[in-house]
């Protein structure tokens, strides 16, 4: 799966949780929560959507790796092979 495919997987999930946030000008390197309004409940929902949609379990210790869009994509890359 390519980086751009992975990026749209993540933004699709965020859009489903926070449809009122504008994701078009998101800087992939900057922390997501500094750019859009995501509280901890929303963040946990990203993790849960990854689990139900793609069967990916993100252990709590790895949450910091979902900090920005780019780091999330990097984190998912090896885990999404074959999905």
């Amino acid at each position: 799966m390519s980086k751009s495919q992975l990026r749209s997987i993540v933004t699709d999930i965020i859009k489903s949780i926070a449809p009122d946030e504008d994701l078009s000008s998101l800087d992939p390197e900057k922390p997501l929560r500094a750019q859009i309004d995501l509280d901890s409940m929303d963040f946990l929902d990203i993790v849960m959507e990854l689990r139900v949609r793609y069967n990916i379990d993100v252990p709590e210790a790895d949450y910091p790796q979902l900090n920005s869009l780019a780091s999330t994509v990097n984190y998912l890359m090896p885990r999404m092979q074959g999905v």
Binding site: I17, A18, P19, D39, M41, D42, V52
Partner: protein, 463 residues
């Protein structure tokens, strides 16, 4: 015989909390069914039709209304958590409301500055004290599991030195979300203060049906099931764990967990004797009489310009089960036409709520029920005379319901709308896979109930 149906979670009760919980669970792939005793959803906030009128059982106003984009509010949490588009609730903000006590009126709108100005104008000595109280409320975290138990009256009067102002601030919060007589849990006070004063009131033009339709759509889309006329007679327990439920028709359904929204005592009553380890919680005592009056002319033209009026004829507001059948000396008046809908509603409705004595209405001779209701309805309008016109000769449709109606239709002991004063904030019970949400978990009102269902589902059933 094939293996019996087995669910991950059975939710008891299709009120706001049960529906919200089930949506979350179904959305994340749990096999879930909501079991509702009644033939329709909504519980305390259901709906019915009579004489050609579509009526809401309870809805005065949806609390916690915040403008779009304020994503920290409870309401936007609900939209996000349930994946519901805010426009689906079709909420229109109130015009204005008021708290009216002898000689003093405080108006408020969804802009908090209005209440601040009203306090400063009517209680000049309390201006800074009020600001201090609000600051403490804004900094409190009432949802924190270990938030301390405190008396709201003490907390308020330690800052506000004018007793009348303290009473006036407390009255609406108690009416819209307090299960305790005379006082209020500070945590509940903070939640209600935020939802009514710091946020505010709104209403769907079509009433509660709009909200329930959105919830049912989402439940359906997510793959959750709803079983109406499926009252639960018994929660089945073996070896200290719940394994299913038995319905009124004696059929059984198996499950991994049960989430009950019917109230704590009500839940204990359907658990086997041996599993009742909890110390018996207190029964709720606060019940209401509510009248729905449809007038032959516009209440707004008769001078009723507030969406909600919380009034009291006494300086000392008393929030307890009355000695008489109905306490007409204070109450809540709601005029649904006074919200800023895209298109005016003009339903000409006035709703009046007063505290009532459950035992009187439950034990009344059935022949006496209707005449007594009419009598107390009339007295209720007299009791509100300082705050509304005498509408008695303008009523073309009237329905009155009492605590007995609430008990019959929702199963709440004593018809106590806000349940037991002993809340189970954790949502846990003596059984490891039986959980509580809604009324007796602690979050009250429409928004509170939904938030309760969501948070208990998240905390225990989506791990």
């Amino acid at each position: 015989m094939g293996s019996p149906l087995r669910y991950n979670v059975l939710v008891i009760g299709a009120g706001m909390s049960g529906l919200a919980a089930a949506i979350r669970l179904a959305h994340f792939g749990k096999k879930v069914a909501v079991l509702e005793r009644h033939d329709r959803v909504g519980g305390l906030n259901s709906y019915y039709s009579l004489n050609g009128y579509d009526l809401d059982v309870g809805l005065h106003a949806v609390t916690n209304f915040a403008p779009r984009g304020a994503s920290t509010s409870a309401l936007s949490k609900i939209f996000r958590q349930l994946r519901i588009k805010p426009e689906n609730f079709d909420l229109s903000p109130q015009k204005k409301s008021r708290i009216a006590f002898p000689g003093v009126t405080l108006e408020f709108t969804n802009d908090f500055a209005c209440l601040e100005e009203e306090v400063a104008k009517n209680f000049p000595s309390q201006k800074d004290r009020f600001r201090k109280l609000v600051e403490a409320i804004r900094n409190a975290d009432p949802y924190h599991p270990s938030a301390e138990r405190r008396s709201a009256r003490e907390a308020v009067s330690s800052v506000i030195s004018e007793p009348l102002l303290a009473e006036m601030l407390l009255a609406p919060l108690m009416y819209y979300g307090n299960a305790m007589e005379d006082d209020m849990d500070y945590r509940q006070f903070v939640i209600m203060f935020q939802s009514i004063y710091l946020e505010g009131f709104a209403r769907p033009r079509r009433g509660v049906r709009e909200i329930l339709d959105s919830l049912l759509n989402r439940l359906d889309e997510s793959g959750g099931e709803l079983k109406l006329e499926s009252g639960v007679r018994e929660i089945l327990v073996e070896n200290g764990k719940v394994y299913g439920v038995k319905l009124m028709d004696d059929s059984r359904i198996e499950c991994d967990s049960v989430l009950s929204s019917i109230g704590l005592l009500e839940t204990i009553a359907i658990c086997p004797e041996s599993s009742r380890r909890e110390k018996k919680p207190a029964e709720g005592k606060l019940a209401f009489m509510e009248s729905i009056n449809i007038l032959d002319s516009s209440p707004v033209e008769l001078g009723m310009e507030h969406a909600i009026t919380f009034f009291s004829n006494r300086e000392n507001f008393s929030f307890r089960k009355p000695e008489e059948p109905v306490d007409v000396n204070d109450g809540v008046i709601c005029v649904p036409d006074n919200f800023s809908y895209g298109e005016p509603l003009n339903c000409n409705m006035v709703r009046i709520t007063n505290k009532a004595d459950y035992a009187y209405w439950e034990n009344i001779n059935p022949m006496e029920n209707l005449p007594r209701k009419r009598d107390w309805h009339s007295r209720s309008i007299e009791g509100a005379a300082d705050y509304m016109p005498d509408i008695r000769d303008k009523i073309k449709f009237l329905d009155v319901f009492t605590p007995r109606t609430v008990r019959r239709y929702t199963g709440h002991i004593n018809g106590a709308v806000y349940g037991s004063p002993d809340k189970v904030w954790s949502g846990g019970t003596a059984l490891p896979n039986l959980f509580l949400c809604g009324t007796d978990q602690g979050f009250l009102g429409i928004i509170g109930a939904m938030l309760s269902g969501i948070s208990i589902a998240n905390q225990y059933l989506l791990k």
